[in-house]
């Protein structure tokens, strides 16, 4: 009787006797079965010693892994807070408040100014005060550009941003917030406004109370063509308070942090520095929303996230407590253990 050849897998399984397969495969089937037969003698020699050694190694590796996981868990919290903070800061870089401070590129600023003018929002118009705007723009652009990701320079750009904030800046921020047309614009404007107020150690109400339309002749108030808005819509604002114009390059009172280099030649810089000290605290608070300010405050100089937040694009989210206690944790790099060990 002709026997059909079995499949390779079946043959290798050892389930087939030599009589179950074609003659040409009989010897192979027999050898396979023999090769699978256990030799009772000696195959488990040394079992006790090997097993006890293995158990000791397993227990030790578990202890080591547990300790490593504990360290990684703590670092993971810090790093995730940092990432969240940086992301929030970048996302919140909005255009409305940038326009309000004259920080946009000239053509854009002009277009935005005209557009917002039609809906009653006053922002600096470079066509009216090009010089002022250019100064503002220069600093604003610097701060804006650096807000989008450079690390150490952002601190200085932040200070330049704050320095360029003037009374018109204050007015612009308050006005932008008061007249933001939709929820998103309002949210962006509020975040900018809050950051600016905190940088001066003031509440939003107090900050806007001192906001006046940019009608003075100091040239530091671009956008004079825009309709000055009343202060009635500001939170407890009081119009008429004259502000120094402190446009570009001046007004070093804003947003300094401990990581910002001191700007030269301005007494306000002293103020700035002082405010920096104060601002640091506030910045910490604001920046801590991004998870970075705490580190700055701690002096560990984790600048990446700090800088992104310093430009006033931070959220109002309160800082995670752990961020403050792990200033330099950014250097940690926890790594996971492989799931399968194949030495």
């Amino acid at each position: 009787m002709r026997r059909f050849p079995p499949s390779d897998d079946r043959l290798f399984s050892g389930d087939l006797d030599p009589d179950d397969v074609p003659p040409e495969l009989a010897r192979i089937a027999g050898l396979i079965q023999a090769a699978k037969t256990a030799d009772a003698v000696g195959e488990l020699a040394g079992e006790e010693l090997i097993v006890s050694q293995m158990a000791a190694v397993v227990r030790e590796s578990r202890r080591t892994e547990a300790a490593r996981n504990d360290r990684r868990h703590v670092l993971g919290k810090v790093l995730s807070a940092k990432v969240i903070g940086a992301s929030a800061a970048v996302l919140l870089s909005g255009g409305v408040a940038a326009a309000a401070t004259g920080a946009l590129p000239t053509p854009v600023q002009e277009a935005v100014s005209h557009g917002l003018h039609h809906i009653g929002i006053s922002v600096p118009d470079p066509a009216v005060h090009p010089a002022s705007h250019s100064e503002t723009h220069a600093s604003g652009v610097t701060s804006t550009s650096t807000s989008i990701g450079s690390s150490t320079s952002t601190s200085s750009s932040a200070s330049r941003t704050t320095q360029s904030s003037t009374s018109s800046n204050r007015y612009g921020l308050c006005n932008a917030y008061a007249h933001a047309g939709n929820a998103k614009a309002r949210s962006v404007a509020l975040s900018k406004l809050t950051a600016a107020a905190l940088a001066k150690g003031e509440t939003v109400s107090t900050y806007c109370a001192g906001a006046t339309p940019p009608s003075n002749s100091s040239g530091a108030n671009p956008g004079a063509t825009h309709r000055p808005t009343t202060t009635t819509s500001f939170p407890s604002s009081t119009p008429g308070k004259s502000q120094g114009h402190g446009t570009s390059g001046q007004g070093a009172e804003h947003r300094p942090t401990t990581t910002l280099p001191a700007r030269p030649s301005n007494s306000r810089r002293g103020t700035t520095n002082n405010n920096a000290a104060t601002g640091t605290t506030h910045d910490t608070t604001s920046k801590s929303t991004t998870g970075s300010s705490a580190r700055s405050e701690s002096g560990h100089g984790v600048s990446t996230t700090t800088t992104t937040s310093v430009t006033g694009t931070t959220t109002t989210t309160p800082p995670p407590p752990t961020a403050q206690s792990h200033g330099s944790a950014s250097t940690a790099t926890g790594k996971g253990a492989p799931s399968a060990h194949t030495p």
Partner: protein, 183 residues
Amino acid sequence: MTHADLEAALGEARRGDEWAITLLFRSIQPQLLRYLGRQAPGAAEDLAAETWLAVAQGIARFEGSLSDFRALVFTIARRRVVDHYRRQDRRPVEGPLAEGTEGHDRDAGEIAIAALSTQQAIDYLVEALPAAQAEVVLLRVVADLSVEEVARVMGRSAGAVRILQHRALRKLEQHFKIEGVTN
């Protein structure tokens, strides 16, 4: 011992339970010794011990089934063989064994398979095969691994393993036919 018992033992072995480790050892050690006995004659026991200690170093982090674990053990064993020959500056065994194959007469007309020891049967099975085919046969027959597991151990695709397996069987068929004719 059932498959389910061994799966449970694997879980406990990851926690360092000695009895669970013993069960795994007993289920795999004989095959491991036979595999190593062919691949590194005279060093099988030492290499087996090295293999188990290496397994112990990673078993706490191991995540997988019993099948995955068996593949892992033989993957480690295979690397131990390579290291063994590298240390000795020698090539792995291929073809008829020069040592450890006492008492077997390759010129016999009929091989009395029933009289062969397990190790001798293994030697007869793979001595005529090229290295890659021999290893597939060893891992399939001796280690009792599936095609997919062998693929993982050898770092090849399952399709490649099947091809090697088929070629090995055809070569064995031809080899024993010739031997039968010669004898």
